[in-house]
Amino acid sequence: MDMTRRAALMTSAAIASSVLFPMRSFGQETPRKGGVFTVHYGAEQRQLNPSLQASTGVYIIGGKIQEQLVDLDAKGQPVGVLAESWEAAPDGRTITFKLRPGVTWHDGKPFTSADVQYTAMEMWKKILNYGSTLQLFLTAVDTPDPLTAVFRYERPMPLNLLLRALPDLGYVSPRHLYEGKGDIRQNPVNLAPVGTGPFKFVQYERGQHVIAERNPNYWRANAPYLDRIVWRVVTDRAAAAAQMEAGQIHYSGFSGLTISDSARLGKDPRFIVSTKGNEGNARTNTIEFNFRRKELADIRVRRAIAHALDIPFFIENFLGDFAKRGTGPIPSVSADFYPADNGPQYPFDKKLAAKLLDEAGFKPGAGGTRFSLRLLPAPWGEDVSLFATFIQQSLADVGIKIDIVRTDGGGYLKQVYDDHAFDLATGWHQYRNDPAVSTTVWYRSGQPKGAPWTNQWDWTDPTIDKIIDDAATEVDAAKRKALYGDFVRRANTELPIWTPIEQIFLTAITAKARNHSNTPRWGSSSWHDLWLAE
């Protein structure tokens, strides 16, 4: 559209939204059908099928095309999508799902339990990251009739664990397009996904854009509202913010913009910037200690390092008001598992830190340096590089010289989780609604060498191992929550990893959007009810 009309549009939208009070409360506005919703797509993935790869980079596209058995509703409780109802046997070894009738794939074929069986056994169990550990003890999926799928487990599977994991790890793929078509990973459908969701895949121009349009025979009545969704590939974050302001992009999720741009767009009436809708994707900033260094094997040194960092100052001055102080491996947003008592905390106390280091026998040598450490920051996330610099500056004050070693993605995983060539590392731990999914592996010993985001710190603690194993198979929800409380307290006392900061992903979206951010993992959800006011 030419310049003058765009400028007019901008001003009118700004006036409209500032007059109306925040969109949350005026639900009675009638939804408008049609319109194109453009999305900032920062990191191109190698494939788009969410039943093969569990990462926000895939959900942001695949989550609109394929659907999962169960999703989370506004209050974060499981709600049926492709499954209408479910019930677990008392011994926790069989869980039966009643599937939704009358659902068809985009290519017209009917959706049946055979699809669920094939996806669970061939994809979740064998390929899907985190899915393979979750379904470790899944032995078979029976399909007594086209609308019933019975999951059989060798060891008891707690129902609330499965229901909390399925929104991320429960996407179903069309069996008739995969079975017998060679290696699943190389199947071209992965780059042109076929699902049952509200939007049908149209086109993927590498490095430019992905386009999907309304699925005419979607099973939810008169949904979706949007005509078409366009994902624009923009790798430079400053450029993405610029394109949002120029009206070329409507939504940038999962903290896709820089901290300062997010803060600025937050003040701009044309946009809404908040963590609302990302409660399902909480993450904590971690500091990982390598016990192979004798200094770090000493608990006093680890505690001293924790006390040397003024976390409130860092959060207040560097991360802005979307982050808060972390208390342990389980973030506070996890209502079901967040323990009342998180065990020892490590407030900022430079003198105590120095005292602890002296006690540990590391006196300051020439130039006040006690010893020096190599710090490897993860190469993603603006907050990670800022935190690494802050660590370097703060530890220098207590006599620990830090050399930051910059790597790229592949190099980071190899050097930290495989070669163990690091002293300190700092990055993200993503919490996925249940500690058993992706949190306990950071502490459980015996992880295979080279497996990323697992316990590679050369630290084994039988007590915590036992707690983790019991909790993983504890069917009673209350007992399971108590066990995870012990897990958190143990983690904070032994401090193999320190989790000082808790953050939730940030969403930046145009104020014209309606029914957005209305579920805990909205960025990854199917957007069947999203629409754009004119």
Partner: protein, 325 residues
């Protein structure tokens, strides 16, 4: 005829160069920490050792380095650039998708730089040591000294956000699907800022070369002969000096074709253009050896092609070349 054999010899001479580069980069990237599977896992945000091992077998990374090199060269001989790990598609198709953006950007910036470099060079040389010369030379130096990405980002802030004249990035506006002329206009609009950002740096270089070569030719004997024939200064420049002064400029195009693709890595990431530059950067980060080598192979062909055209142009400009002495 004569020129084709000349160009044929250039092609034959550059084949060993090409092989030299490919093997060199192949071995170099083996030393990088982590391989494409690590990069994939980093992107996926997780994955257990079993999947890693399977993927490594699939990508043939479990073979010895020399075996991998042997496979690669054997496939290269059959012009098969192998499979791209990042995009799960043959490298040839991936590059074909992104080639148009790069070629458009490079030709646009190269012609912009050459054309304006030429004109400003002539103007500067004509008014040497007077104000046009100092103004143009200093302006040239300013663009030369300015980091390209910095200029790019500032240009976006001014032209796309503040003035809203030009789009902030991307190759074309896909929310609305234009066709035909309207689409070319739209793409052109998207390429204005990137061309300026990449082109201005090279324009500064061409400007200086043109000014120097103009001053050089103006001192040669045949210019004095031309003046003694009663010609006015403009005709002397247009009919005699310009064509001789163009020779070093044309050779420069050949030399700079290679570095331009390097420059486009930054410009393409600032303007999110789907070009080979950014694909190369991503394939280094993702350790996708096949794609990287594929890009180097294609960019080398591009450079050879540009040099071939430069040879043709040079032969047309300078009759002494076809005489073969």
């Amino acid at each position: 005829m004569r020129v084709l054999t000349l160009a044929g010899r250039r092609l034959a001479a550059s084949i060993p160069t090409l092989i030299l580069i490919l093997i060199g980069v192949f071995l170099l990237l083996q030393l990088a920490p982590g391989d494409t599977v690590d990069a994939l896992m980093a992107q996926m945000g997780g994955g257990d050792a079993a999947t890693a091992r399977q993927l490594r077998e699939f990508y043939g990374l479990d073979l010895s380095v020399w075996a991998q090199l042997g496979n690669y060269l054997w496939r290269l001989v059959r012009l098969d650039l192998g499979f791209s790990a990042i995009y799960g598609k043959p490298v040839a198709t991936v590059i074909a998708e992104r080639l148009p953006a790069t070629i458009l950007l490079m030709t646009a910036s190269l012609s912009f730089a050459f054309f304006f470099g030429l004109i400003l060079g002539v103007v500067a040389a004509r008014g040497v040591n007077k104000w046009p010369d100092t103004l143009i030379s200093t302006l040239g130096l300013m663009f030369y000294a300015m980091p390209t990405f910095w200029f790019g980002l500032m240009a976006i802030v001014v032209f796309s956000i503040y003035l809203q004249w030009l789009p902030a990035g991307g190759f074309e506006d896909i929310t609305v699907s234009y066709t035909g002329l309207r689409r070319t206009f739209d793409i052109a609009l998207h390429l204005v800022l990137p061309t300026l950002t990449l082109g201005l740096f090279y324009m500064a270089i061409y400007l200086r070369i043109m000014r120097g070569s103009m001053l050089e030719v103006l001192n040669l004997d045949f210019v004095r002969t031309a003046r003694s024939k009663g010609m006015d200064e403009t005709r002397v420049v247009v009919r005699h000096v310009l064509r001789n002064a163009l020779l070093p400029m044309v050779t420069l195009i050949g030399l700079q074709a290679g570095t331009m693709l390097g420059g486009s890595v930054v410009v393409e990431s600032v303007f999110s253009l789907p070009g080979l530059g950014r694909l190369a950067y991503e394939s280094v980060i993702q350790r996708d050896l096949n794609t990287l080598l594929g890009i180097i192979f294609v960019s080398a062909l591009l450079v050879i092609a540009v040099n071939f055209i430069v040879d043709l142009l040079y032969a047309r400009l300078d009759p002494r070349i076809t005489a073969g002495n």
